[in-house]
Amino acid sequence: MTDSRPLELVPRIEPILQSVLAENALLRQLADGLGSPLNIVLPGALAANVESFRAVYRAHRLRGHIYFAHKANRSAALLRQLATTDAGVDVASLAELQHALGAGFTPDRVIATGPKNREFLWLAARTGVLVNADSLDELSELAALVAINRLPRVRVMVRLAGFAAPGVQLISRRSRFGVPFDQLTEVLGRLDKHAEQLELVGVAYHLDTIGLPEKAVALEGCLAALDECRNRGVPVWSVDIGGGFGVNYLAEAGQWERYTSELAQAVLGRRPPMTWNGHGYGLRNEAGTLRGALGLYPAYRPVSGPGYLDQLLTTLAPAQRRPLGELLLDSMIDLDIEPGRALLDQCGLVLARVLEVRTGSADLLVRLEMNARDVSLEEHGVLMDPVLVGAGDRPPEPTEVFLLGNLCLESDLITRRKVTLPARPRPGDLLAFVNTAGYFMDFSATRALHQPIGRKVALFRDGDRWSWCLDEQYWPVHERTEAA
């Protein structure tokens, strides 16, 4: 059942990203002037993503904050542009909070999440942002900080974990975050004790899963927790369901299905290897039977981002058997979300120059002026082929290649699999790793071996053409030329 056609995984490219890729000369100039790798962000693509989440809110008649999970990208341009929309921002470190405040977010649009040190807590309390507390101790630490420094009362949420489902025991991965659901009474007691310092406004969960049933259980659990708060006379109106809405990275379902089927065949030894040293991405061959699980992001995901939120809100609550969205509305609860990746869909790309095209072995090896940490697609298990800039000018010749990085290290493979390029690459060519703004651009980049970290530029529309500036120079001040 082997199939020898090239195994393409063509990325999904929307018109805004397509029009950037068409700027052959501009991309070449940028890479020549600023070096490879080069990170490009598109602040202009953000508004549509915020709006498509907002449309789901409208359809379900819900209100609440859309907090952008800042950790998905460190870009200043993206954050400043986001400040012009109705989205807020979720910050998970002191520096992210500083960055958000400096980008134009007023404290009522900021939520502080994740593990926090005292400085982070102080700045959050001082400026009056909402604090999503991760543990009982954090609540006490924050209350003490507020009392000692005579800070204003801080609005808090409490992140819950370990929800129980009715009938079926739904096993969730163990999480290092959150207060166990069965300690809710203790949480409320602790808040009572610190009533002068802390004001509870809601509860939160965040589950690292793409599974809707687990999230439905957690959301219904949060509703029960809110009910308990109200029962004790605490007027709470919000639930924060975190992120994890996902992105659809690939253009075609068929390519993804064919690729993963063939990968299973390759692991079973029934077709030639598709990966470096027969890497199985989590699958292994035990006596002719496929074992393990495919450790890959479902790169083709027709229901993702706003669509996934809509599906969650339409899902029946496991106990009450009424759609979760209607339960929220019935109870007058505002819905807060923290999408990262999904808000950055189509918002950027990473450019890299081809240094060498090595023939001589059975495989074509292509060495790039970048390393695997500069575009961490492999690390996140997202498989999609890069785009060969300017390939349209060459005769089509689909070519399978391995992409090697610039570190003097066996493991520095940008892809542990063969990717398919539309034509045979040559030294000096540019490859564009598209749709990489969410988590793959600067999350893991290092200066190992004194290799440079890619510079970041913002591309924006200036009349009918694309213009650019360094990321930190970008401010969402329009008509920059005409205004003068």
């Binding site: 008649r61 489902a165 009938g167 079926v168 025991q169 739904l170 096993i171 969730s172 991965r173 690292d208 899963t209 793409i210 599974g211 809707l212 049933p213 687990e214 509703l223 009910d227 109200r230 029962n231 992120g243 994890g244 996902g246 379902a253 299905e257 993963t260 089927s261 299973a264 079973l268 989590g282 039977t289 496929l290 074992r291 393990g292 699980a293 450790g295 890959l296 992001y297 479902p298 009450q320 009424r322 209607e326 339960l327 509305l329 019935d330 109870s331 007058m332 690390e379 996140h380 298990g381 988590y439």
Partner: protein
């Protein structure tokens, strides 16, 4: 027939010839092996009994729990057999996709564990999937579990090698059929039957059916998933063909509506796959041939599966007094009152939200009739007198406007909807109470 225990009724199911006028095959006699007539409802009864039998004595002595990775018929059969011996049964599954079966298993006293979905943020250092981890826990000695292990247990195949297969040969007067068509789930029945038939006649053609990759047919694995099954050996099948859930439902409908056979989707898929494969051969044949497929289980457990995929099958004419028949103009014209006027409302206040939300906070003096129930009441006519003023309340004033318009249409003159709903009421600072 007199038995000492229900498991003795397992097996010896009839082989029924299907009417050629229905399937249209001219040169092939098509037989259905009616496994749905097993006492617990499916072909899995055989494998469940065969696998658990040698484990029962030890499990009973130690007080072990019987455990299986199953979200369907194997779990059902094992739960019943375990229950007969006073043993607890636990089913571990990565997705309970059919709600009726989930409820049925709970009714039978099974404990259900669902494995988590894939992580959104991949942890590349975590190379082990939850299923393998679970597997290891179960097979530890002294774990308190006996694991029947249907995907790897040879006894699953043997149940059909010594049971289902020879029964088919016997019912065909000692001859093996020319074609055997089987859906591949655990591969137990297809492998066992194929082996038995080929012992009799090595020329039997075996057609395996798998689901299309992104599709879901209960009891059938996809082309990728079969490779995860220990009992699956591609050499068993002369050909592996794909069927879709649409095919399976088409086949199911033919079996239930034309063949007197209340088959589930797996049986439907086998029928449809068999007819599709055989139709191409039929015209070329010069002698009579026979073909056999298996009807695995019954249709009743799959109503929600069918409703999701073919809502038209369940279409009923719109009920009378239904909000769905209202025009946009009628809804827009529904009479409303603002918070100020509502706070002085002299009549009945009906809150259409769910009981939990109502109990938590509501307008003092209002009564709660959740919208679904209110809709049911209205199908039967006005549940209150025309002289009784009624104010309807919902979250944002949208549902209440629809029901106000409907009540108006039904001839109730004194009905109003609270504009902006209970949220506007709250935002205006009006009082909400909790009992």
């Amino acid at each position: 027939m007199r038995y000492d225990d229900m498991t003795e009724a397992i097996g010896n199911t009839p082989l029924v010839r299907l009417d050629p006028a229905v399937h249209g095959l001219v040169n092939i006699d098509l037989y259905a092996k009616m496994e749905l007539l097993n006492p617990f409802g499916s072909v899995k009864d055989r494998a469940a009994l065969q696998m658990i039998r040698p484990l029962l004595a030890g499990a009973a002595a130690r007080g072990d729990t019987v455990v299986e990775l199953s979200s369907g018929n194997t779990a059902k059969a094992l739960a019943l057999i375990a229950g007969m011996h006073g043993l607890p049964f636990k089913s571990v599954t990565n997705r309970m996709k059919v709600p009726e079966i989930k409820d049925l298993l709970l009714l039978l006293g099974a404990e259900l564990d669902e494995l988590p979905g894939q992580a959104e943020c991949l942890d590349p250092t975590d190379t082990e999937d939850p299923l393998s981890r679970m597997h290891r826990t179960l097979s530890d000695n002294g774990s308190g579990y006996v694991h029947t292990d249907q995907y790897f247990n040879e006894r699953n195949v043997e149940a059909h090698l010594h049971g289902t297969g020879p029964e088919i040969v016997k019912d065909l007067d000692g001859r093996a059929p020319d074609y055997f068509v089987a859906c591949v789930g655990t591969a137990g029945s297809s492998t066992g039957v194929a082996r038995a038939l080929r012992q009799h006649d090595p020329d039997v053609r075996v057609i395996g059916l798998v689901a299309a990759k992104s599709d879901f047919i209960p009891g059938i694995r996809t082309i990728d998933e079969v490779h995860e099954v220990g009992l699956f050996d591609p050499g068993v099948y002369d050909t592996l063909e794909t069927i879709t859930s649409d095919d399976a439902i088409d086949g199911l409908l033919t079996l239930v509506r034309r063949c007197g056979t209340p088959a589930g989707p797996t049986g439907g898929g086998a029928y449809q796959g068999a007819v599709r494969h055989l139709r191409a051969l039929d015209a070329t044949l010069t002698s009579r041939k026979t073909a056999v497929f298996i009807v695995c289980d019954r249709v009743e457990s799959y109503l929600s599966y069918l409703r999701d995929r073919r809502p038209a099958l369940f279409g009923r004419p719109p009920a009378t007094n239904d909000v769905r028949v209202l025009t946009a103009d009628e809804i827009a014209a529904a009479p409303t009152v603002d918070v100020e006027e509502a706070s002085r409302w002299p009549g009945l206040v009906i809150d259409l939200r769910n009981p939990h939300a109502y109990r938590a906070l509501h307008i003092d003096g209002s009564i709660n009739i959740v919208d679904e129930l209110f809709a049911e009441l209205l199908h039967g006519g006005l549940p209150f007198g025309r002289r009784q003023p009624v104010l309807l309340v919902c979250p944002v004033g949208e549902k209440s406007a629809r029901y106000a318009a409907l009540l108006l249409r039904m001839g109730h003159p004194e009905v109003r909807s609270l504009a902006g709903g209970v949220i506007a009421w709250r935002d205006a600072g009006a009082r909400l109470v909790r009992d």
